[in-house]
Amino acid sequence: MAPPITHTDRAASRPRRAGRTSAVQTVLAFGALIVMGVVFSIASPNFFQFDNVVGILLATAVNGVLALGVTFVIIAGGIDLSIGTVMSLSAVMTGIVITNWQLPIPLGIAAGLATGAVAGAINGVIIARLALPPFIATLGTLSVAKGLALITSGLRPIYFTDTPSFNELAMGSLIAKLHPSLEIPNLVLFLFGAAVVAGFALNRTILGRYTFALGSNEEATRLSGVPVAGWKIAVYAVSGLFAGLAGVLIAARLDSAQPSLGFGYELDAIAAAVIGGTSLRGGTGTILGTVIGAFVISILANGLRILSVSQEWQMVVTGVIVILAVYLDIVRRRTQEHA
């Protein structure tokens, strides 16, 4: 075994800051995705067909957007359980503005995004100023959002039948216009666009810097004179904003705002972030990792369905894979740090 290392030696030999990932780590994460794809392709000729791949992309979109937002919160050392129901509430708000009040679509979209951001900010205030633990605080707002979604929607789904261009926004295909044989719905573009924005925000803005700072060492950050409360609120608002976007997207995709849909979706989003390398202890995480994590989940679900694995067993397999994926990630990171 290696000779005992003094504290200063260890610090000197670890120049990499928490939060930055090496190229090797990213390649390994991609590798897991590719292995899954290869395994399912071998197992079934129906897997790697254009329509099915597009289906996987579609299935990843909404969960991916949710996961992008919650990545910020988890890196900052918190958690946001309300993203699922905030998504429904945002979808309902969009529906109310567009269908019930018959206002133009952009206003509806703005309403959805604003609902998410405000809900997130409220989470932030409760956590930062009232000092409630994030788990409890967001559990509470989960319930509030759930109820509000039901109340404001009048207990029934809101349909967008009079405004077909809203559905077109998600399910129309800009790509097809450029390349007629590639019928890829715009929803996929929204996912990648959101990922680019999230990546930029996390890696190149002050918000991103402070997100990592809050997660690595909140006390040190506070003692450095950074207004921690304000930035915490901002981080939760970001999570809410992405939940709002997810709400708008799912409403556009389904051409309806379903007030009961969304409860439970926070778990898949958090799983995606964690599988992608975001540590629940805070301080570590990448947008690319989260996107990969989201794809791991949707490829797994799709692959199992294509193999006609019965639904009960799908649940068992998914749980086992999630545990394995997170474990492998932890091992990988541990070997990286000792390298």
Partner: protein, 249 residues
């Protein structure tokens, strides 16, 4: 690390590759609205029995709640990718499934609707229940059993799903139209969860000691109502009508 991780992967690949032998019998995915309720399990049993009789392979799946329209879409899309001989579908939201149904039509895969069916001309056949009429029938039956007058209450499973809305409205509409001497004192939503429905039903029974009948709009709700009546020892005094069949009833 590398060789030890590659080996199990190779084994898994080989295993999966052998799993996919050519299937001589036709394959029909059955996509329902739900999965865990005994009602859907009964549907599944029926489908499996028929599958055996006609030498067909089926898979049975459904989302975990009737609001998960997107999950049902994903199931339908995966089913289509398997190029089945036919698809059976109980659509949660007709409009949402139409693009995929058109794909099925283009691929010459016949679609058969069941339960609430699909509100479009693409399915070649439908075996559905008209929830509105059936709930109305339940209302008539309940009215008949309690002497066409008195207080009743309803436990519905879902406020926002098509079946929940139709069954509630069918029951209430019929009561209002044909049985004016019956008052519906309360309508509560138990999410189809037996425990929740039991608690809700008990609350109603205790708040209205003179109540004569209750309607449970789906299996979970009906079981909940039965439990409540039993626990409050009102058997014989309260008539219970339920929708959907389950073993506990």
């Amino acid at each position: 690390m590398k060789p030890t991780t590659l080996f199990p992967i190779a084994v898994v690949c080989a295993a999966l590759a052998t799993v996919h032998l050519a299937h001589a019998e036709p394959y029909i995915p059955v996509i329902s609205k739900g999965f865990q309720h005994q009602f859907w399990q009964a549907v599944k049993l029926g489908a499996e029995r028929a599958a055996k009789e006609f030498q067909v392979r089926i898979t049975f799946e459904g989302p975990e709640s009737e609001s998960q329209v997107d999950k049902q879409l994903e199931m339908l899309q995966a089913a289509l990718a398997k190029r089945p001989q036919a698809i059976c579908l109980a659509a949660l939201d007709t409009k949402a499934v139409i693009p995929l149904l058109r794909k099925a039509q283009a691929a010459r895969i016949p679609v058969i609707g069941f339960d609430s069916g699909v509100d479009s001309d693409i399915p070649v056949a439908t075996a559905a229940t008209d929830n509105l009429t059936a709930a109305g029938f339940a209302a008539d039956k309940l009215a008949q059993l309690i002497g066409d007058a008195g207080e009743v209450a309803v436990i519905v499973h879902d406020q926002t799903s098509r079946t929940g809305i139709d069954r509630r409205d069918g029951f209430l509409g019929r009561m209002k139209a044909k049985h004016p001497k019956i008052t519906v004192v309360d309508v509560q939503y138990g999410g189809g969860d037996q425990l929740k429905s039991t608690d809700l039903a008990k609350a109603i029974l205790q708040a209205h000691p003179g109540i004569k009948g209750m309607f449970g709009a789906n299996e979970g709700s009906a079981v909940g109502v039965l439990n409540a009546v039993k626990e409050l020892k009102r058997q014989g005094k309260v008539v219970v009508i339920g929708y959907d069949a389950g073993k506990q009833q």
